[in-house]
């Protein structure tokens, strides 16, 4: 190593490289892809939650104007290789096995029954209406009770019942001891309601199979091109090398667009059959109904605590509703279990989980998929505080771990190294005048106004602390010095709003020694970029670290090569401002473009010296670490309308060193907005027949400018754990911790009514019920 290059870009809120194109309408989202001869797909979807398909007649549709292809489930399945779809791929679940389109039966409203390809989307949709399907309805399984009722038919025959996974109780620490020592045991049932990702861009793809070369090119909106390729090539029975997935701009995802979907596979198969490019763009009705939903869990909780407010232990039984066509849900219970104690000295935990399948949309990843652990724990802490007549803030401070003191490991085994929840609470105590608020609250109550304050804390393994036997991952990256002296970065990250073209370039520019403008970040092409994906708040550490390590390796190689060109010792060389020079001899400077061009000329380098200015590298996450923090909301509840106004929202958080503070703030605020929406507005509602009730934006209410307050953010950058890489992920934190923050604030506001909150969804009608203004439904 020669010398450290001054840090010029990392830490600065510099403008995004993505912005000129997206602000001028020049982005390339999947629906903007138009290939010669392209035709359009539409799907016929089930109107029933659970039914057998008695017969299906597509003859009229096949004859309809502009129609090129119609496949039923059975016809399509004959062209495919069975196997997993979506996140089922990553979860490697053996059962249930299911088809691409429904064959014998439909399993949710919106299930795929047939695909139609026509000259335009309008004509394709027209033709779906000409398909005649006779259904025999089956008893729907739309509730937990219905799923547990053995008289109901199994949705998936190979499961034998509607129970996907049922675990034995797992005990950590001395659970019985904790409960026998306790002065009190709180017994409550706490639940999260079903809600969903709702990216502004729906899902979609353009598949283009070339019969001459037998290659498939597929444009799609996704979070990782290689994961997508595995599903497409697997189900189509193709050599992965003959499938190329390309992705340019993606209009949000929040976990939804991970892994090739059943729709993607059907469209790819149609393109192969026709030898034509086929486009399918999900419409909003389809997106809300059938793309996937998240967060439907219920928890029977017992919490053992002392008169003094020490929380000694928890016993938790969870039931999670995985919906139909399960993918991710089976993997979540163990994550929720291991994270439940979080940054608190909870020394005993018993956890038991059951995952059921129902006739609802698939449970998918949504921004902090395991967030139930935070909701349950942070609600329990407030409930315990209320039982004891204590300030919830004080109960948190009393129970939260302190860095460098025991316990340094959660009772579930996860290391607490570098956790700064205590510091985030202390910072919050400085930013929010709690005693002053209590006086204000009392005065307001005297006037019939109901103010409340709530807070909640979380940590997220982003990527998590390094622990023996638990690798943090492997983030590959490639860099090369182009002939014009620009640094080209190839990443497996698949940005969909996270600004990686900017942040990865900031890190690489600093480490390599070029201007930010001279770095180009390449992503979204399975033929070109290394494997990878964007999700799980991993990219700050993993891609940030890979950028540092790879730029460092390329810099060493460029310096080594330049030492021959400049006839100087490597140790005397530096790269700065896009040029290589001998330290102290500015006149020696040779621009990187000159270096890149010189190495390509014969005879400029001694024989045997590698003039390829390219490196490949992989980063293992280094020491890793946690992100985390505390959020606080001050709300006013209007007890006549049930409306909640958020007066103030304060975030204290620690994601280590910030690459681009404006990007970090944007991630935090966006997550908080989704959390506020989850509590006050959003719900994926079904009736007890499994009919989906919220299939438009007039029913599924999204937060607007009128619902989301300005959010104050205070960053702690407390603990450097790693000698090189101390960026940690922040994408999910806001969505993980905002729901309990808001619920805690509302409960505090409604304390005069003795209200206790056990369910996360608190729209006006629910609040009026809790206050006693209206009767429960």
């Amino acid at each position: 190593m020669s010398q450290q290059v001054a840090q010029r870009y990392v830490g600065s809120p510099i403008k995004r490289s993505e912005d000129p194109r997206i602000l001028m309408g020049a982005g390339t989202y999947v629906d903007d892809v138009k290939l010669p001869g392209m035709v359009h797909a539409a799907f016929l979807r089930s109107p029933f939650a659970h039914a057998t398909i008695a017969s299906i007649d597509t003859s009229l549709a096949r004859k309809a104007e502009g129609v090129l292809l119609v496949y039923t489930g059975e016809e399509l399945e004959a062209l495919l290789t069975p196997g997993p779809y979506g996140l089922g791929l990553i979860m490697s679940m053996e059962k249930p096995v299911f088809s691409c389109l429904a064959t014998d039966k439909v399993r949710l409203v919106g299930d795929l029954v047939a695909i139609v390809v026509a000259e335009s989307r309008y004509l394709a949709e027209d033709a779906t209406e000409l398909i005649d399907v006779e259904y025999d309805e089956l008893p729907p399984v739309a509730t937990v009770e219905q799923a547990f009722d053995p008289s109901n038919p199994p949705i998936f025959e190979d499961l034998g019942s509607n129970i996907l996974v049922q675990s034995e109780p797992h005990a950590f620490g001395d659970v019985e001891g904790a409960f026998s020592r306790a002065d009190h045991v709180l017994r409550v049932t706490i639940s999260q309601h079903r809600h969903q990702n709702v990216p502004m861009e729906t899902r979609g793809c353009v598949a283009s199979y070339d019969p001459a070369t037998e290659h498939l090119l597929m444009w799609s909106a996704n979070q990782g091109v290689h994961i997508h390729r595995t599903t497409i090539s697997g189900r189509l029975g193709m050599d992965p090398e003959k499938v190329r997935i390309r992705t340019a701009d993606v209009g949000g995802s929040f976990g939804l667009k991970l892994g090739g979907s059943r729709e993607d596979v059907a469209v790819a198969a149609a393109s192969r059959a026709l030898g034509l490019p086929v486009k399918y763009i999900e419409d909003r009705y389809e997106n809300l109904t059938a793309s996937g939903q998240a967060r439907e869990e219920s928890f029977d909780v017992e919490a053992a605590y002392t008169d003094d407010g020490d929380i000694l232990g928890l016993k938790v039984k969870m039931v999670m509703d995985a919906g139909a066509y399960p993918g991710l849900a089976g993997a979540l219970p163990s994550m929720i279990e291991s994270m439940l104690p979080s940054a608190y000295k909870i020394a005993a935990l018993e956890f038991q989980s059951t995952v059921i399948v129902t006739n609802k949309a698939t449970y998918v990843a949504y921004r902090g998929p395991w967030a139930a652990e935070t909701f349950v724990r942070e609600r329990v802490i407030d409930l315990v505080a209320h039982e004891l007549g204590r300030e919830p803030f004080d109960i948190r401070m009393q129970n939260v771990v302190t860095r460098g003191e025991e316990p340094t490991v959660m009772i579930t085994g996860r290391s607490l190294v570098g956790v700064t929840v205590r510091e985030s609470l202390e910072r919050l105590g400085e930013l929010v005048d709690l005693p002053g608020f209590r006086l204000e609250q009392e005065a307001a109550r005297a006037e019939g106004r109901y103010l409340g304050i709530g807070m909640a804390s979380y940590i997220e393994a982003a990527p998590g602390p390094k622990m023996p036997g638990m690798p943090l991952g492997r983030e590959e990256m490639r860099m090369e010095l182009a002939e014009d002296g620009k640094l080209i970065v190839f990443t497996g990250q698949m940005p969909h709003g996270q600004s990686h073209e900017t942040t990865i370039a900031q890190v690489a520019a600093d480490e390599f020694g070029v201007a930010f403008e001279d770095v180009q970040v390449v992503f979204g092409d399975s033929d070109i970029v290394p494997p990878g994906f964007t999700g799980g708040s991993r990219s700050a550490t993993m891609a940030g670290g890979a950028a540092i390590m790879t730029a460092r390796a390329l810099r060493a190689k460029v310096l080594e090569t330049s030492s021959h060109l400049l006839e100087a010792n490597v140790a005397d060389l530096r790269i700065e401002n896009g040029a290589v020079s001998v330290v102290g001899v500015p006149a020696s400077a040779m621009t990187l473009a000159d270096v890149a061009s010189a190495v390509r000329q014969p005879g400029r380098l001694p024989e045997g010296v590698d003039g390829e200015l390219k490196v490949e590298n992989a980063y293992d996450g280094g020491s890793g670490g946690w992100s985390g923090g505390t959020h606080c909301a001050i709300v006013e509840v209007d007890c006549e309308t049930g409306l909640v106004h958020i007066e103030r929202y304060v975030v204290t958080e620690d994601c280590g060193k910030l690459i681009n503070p404006a990007v970090v703030d944007g991630q935090v605020r966006g997550g908080v907005a989704q959390g506020i929406g989850a509590v006050l507005l959003e719900r994926s509602a079904y009736d007890d027949r499994g009919n989906y009730l919220t299939a438009t934006f007039m029913d599924y209410l999204m937060p607007t400018t009128m619902d989301i307050p300005n959010i104050e953010i205070s960053h702690l950058e407390t603990v450097p754990l790693d000698p090189d890489v101390n960026f940690r992920g922040i994408g999910e934190g806001g969505m993980i911790v905002a729901p309990p923050t808001i619920c805690n604030a509302i409960e505090d506001a409604l304390a005069p009514f003795g209200v206790r909150i056990y369910q996360q969804h608190l729209p006006p009608a629910k609040l009026l019920e809790l206050i006693g203004v209206i009767e429960p439904e």
Partner: protein, 165 residues
């Protein structure tokens, strides 16, 4: 065969023609027939605002408008905001404020804001929030967008983070 109709309209200052089915929405005609894919379709039922364009100076939902309804009208889309290929002051202000993330709702917001600024050159924060309440953004929590409008109209951005400029 579906009947088609010839239409003429002015888009971003240029006269354009198309031969379209009467049922084809303005959004689809802009995107498919005129190849102006900057206008995005987010819900196709008039709630999310991603497809907002200016029709004769007024912000309107191009997903709820049939192209045949706007024959002879002046349409401005996101592609019409740049000046000589460079971002206009609103676009520059949005970049400076890190207004957007994924960019999908962005065209609708910028067109709605353009309509707002034409009516009210110095809107207050409550006026901005009211004017943008019919546009949905899933990424940002709106604060950075509101800050961008304040910046574009020469007003101080909201200052409430340790890192806000």
């Amino acid at each position: 065969m579906s009947e088609t109709v010839d239409i003429l309209l002015t888009v971003n200052g240029t006269q354009r023609s198309a031969n379209v089915e009467p049922r084809k929405t303005l959004a689809d005609v802009l995107r498919d027939d005129l190849e102006l894919t900057g206008t995005h379709v987010g819900c196709e039922h008039g709630v999310c605002g991603a497809c907002t364009v200016l029709i004769d100076g007024e912000a309107a939902r191009s997903c709820l408008t049939f192209a045949v309804q706007v024959r002879g009208s002046e349409i401005v889309t996101i592609e019409g905001l740049a000046e000589d290929g460079e971002m206009n002051p609103l676009q520059q202000a949005m970049q400076a404020s890190h207004g957007f993330q994924c960019g999908f709702c962005t065209p609708g917001f910028l067109m709605q804001i353009t309509a707002l600024m034409n009516e009210n050159p110095k809107p207050s924060e409550p006026e901005i929030r009211e004017a943008l309440s019919g546009n949905v953004c899933r990424c940002t929590g709106y604060q950075s967008i509101v800050a961008g409008v304040l910046r574009a109209t020469g007003q101080s951005p909201i200052s409430d983070s340790t890192h806000q400029e």
